[in-house]
């Protein structure tokens, strides 16, 4: 996965030189260890991602009691499935219905529920998304391929303080009898942000 090695190594970019300089200084001074860095990168590249949130959503679709607990206390409910950690202490799940479509943004930075969705995609952190989603959500959702009918209320959640939001999408039609694991495979990251339907 390294892109710094090879027979014809390309020159480092400015930002790569800066990142390397900081890493060297901090590891030489013993402030951060290379082993710690490797461990964190590995965890976020492999174990912490939207497949966790998809399990939460699928469980809520098949288990009405779990759905109730998820809507009442998101952090406790995701902990039941073994998920938690940084940016996950105050998870609130917001439920899509035939009348309401929820979508999440962080206009001030890029707050995001790491334990269930992993690290945010580039578009979520970009100025176009952060500026426009609070001002023209229906137009932006349509642009992103998610048409929300005029009679469906759009609720935008700007995660500006402690809470991190997870959208609980509507269960797709004609999935009666489909197993929990198969349902989880239908749940996309974007549906749990609210910019797509599962």
């Amino acid at each position: 996965m390294s892109d710094d090695h090879g027979h014809n190594p390309r020159p480092l970019s400015d930002v790569e030189r800066r990142a390397r300089a900081l890493e060297e200084l901090l590891t030489e001074k013993g402030i951060v260890s290379g082993e710690f860095i490797d461990r964190v990168v590995e965890a976020f590249a492999r174990d912490i991602g939207p497949m966790n949130g998809a399990k939460v959503v699928a469980r809520a679709w098949v288990d009405p009691g779990y759905r109730q607990r998820l809507l009442a206390d998101g952090s406790a409910a995701v902990a039941e499935l073994g998920f938690g950690g940084p940016e996950g202490d105050h998870i609130v799940a917001v439920e899509n219905t035939p009348e309401v479509h929820n979508v999440v943004v962080c206009t001030l930075c890029s707050c995001y529920p790491w334990p269930v969705l992993g690290l945010p995609p580039t578009w979520y952190k970009s100025p176009p998304y952060r500026s426009r989603m609070v001002r023209e959500p229906r137009a932006l959702l349509a642009e992103m391929g998610c048409e929300v009918p005029e009679d469906v209320e759009i609720r935008v959640w700007d995660s500006s303080a402690e809470v991190r939001y997870l959208v609980l999408p509507e269960r797709p039609a004609a999935t009666d009898g489909v197993g929990e694991a198969e349902l989880a495979a239908l749940v996309s990251r974007d549906a749990m942000i609210g910019v797509a339907r599962p």
Partner: protein, 209 residues
């Protein structure tokens, strides 16, 4: 501070560009910077509001033209240099130039240190207005809702006031709310029908109507 990071409602940024099947990290340095920031913030005792403010203090042109992980790199290096855990000269010598964020505004020292309060003054359904507070330091009250009226939609647990945590490293609690704003209250004639925005706000940002 009314910085470029406070993007809600700004116009002119164009379409959202989505990369299909985007990897978690595009380059090694991104993941390593993410991890380094976590480790160094812990080692230096820097809290999240301090880190966010270090990023907000980036040169606006640099902020808008650099990636998320370059923000992290710049923010964490700035805090470490300011705390004299590393030196600017060392960074420059190794990297051949290392732009850092601007200093904290002198006016941010004037942070209003409220007494801790865990008892929520407002209840679900209460109409509120966002105070038009002007503060030159770190705040989590976005510009686009200042002075606007909303309704309390949820009462959350008290949490440390970001202004006080960022500028005095003290944890002073204040109740938190989710406040619902109708789109028409925020964007007037330009608003979309049948839409609202919920913003999470500390009690000190709110007043009764």
């Amino acid at each position: 501070m009314d910085g470029v990071h406070d993007l809600g409602g700004m116009e002119g940024f164009g379409p959202v560009e989505v990369e299909p099947d985007e990897p978690t990290f595009h380059h090694d340095w991104e993941g390593r910077t993410f991890a380094i920031a976590g480790g160094a913030l812990g080692a230096g005792g820097f809290n999240t509001p301090m880190f966010r403010h270090a990023i907000e203090r980036m040169d606006p042109g640099h902020y808008l033209t650099s990636s998320y992980y370059e923000h992290w790199l710049t923010g964490v290096a700035t805090l470490l240099v300011e705390a004299e855990m590393i030196s600017c000269d060392d960074l420059d010598a190794r990297a051949g130039g290392f732009p850092l964020s601007r200093p904290v505004s002198d006016a941010a020292g004037d942070v209003d240190v409220a007494t801790a309060n865990e008892t929520a003054r407002f209840s679900v359904g209460d109409p509120v207005r966002v105070r038009d507070v002007q503060f030159a330091g770190h705040t989590r009250c976005p510009r686009y809702i200042r002075g606007r009226r909303g309704v309390v939609a949820r009462v959350d647990a008290a949490a440390p006031i970001p202004e006080v945590e960022a500028h005095r490293r003290e944890r002073v609690l204040d109740p938190n709310y989710s406040v619902r704003f109708d789109a028409a209250e925020l964007w007037s004639d330009a608003s979309e029908p049948n839409a609202c925005v919920h913003v999470d706000l500390y009690e000190r940002y709110l007043e009764s109507v």
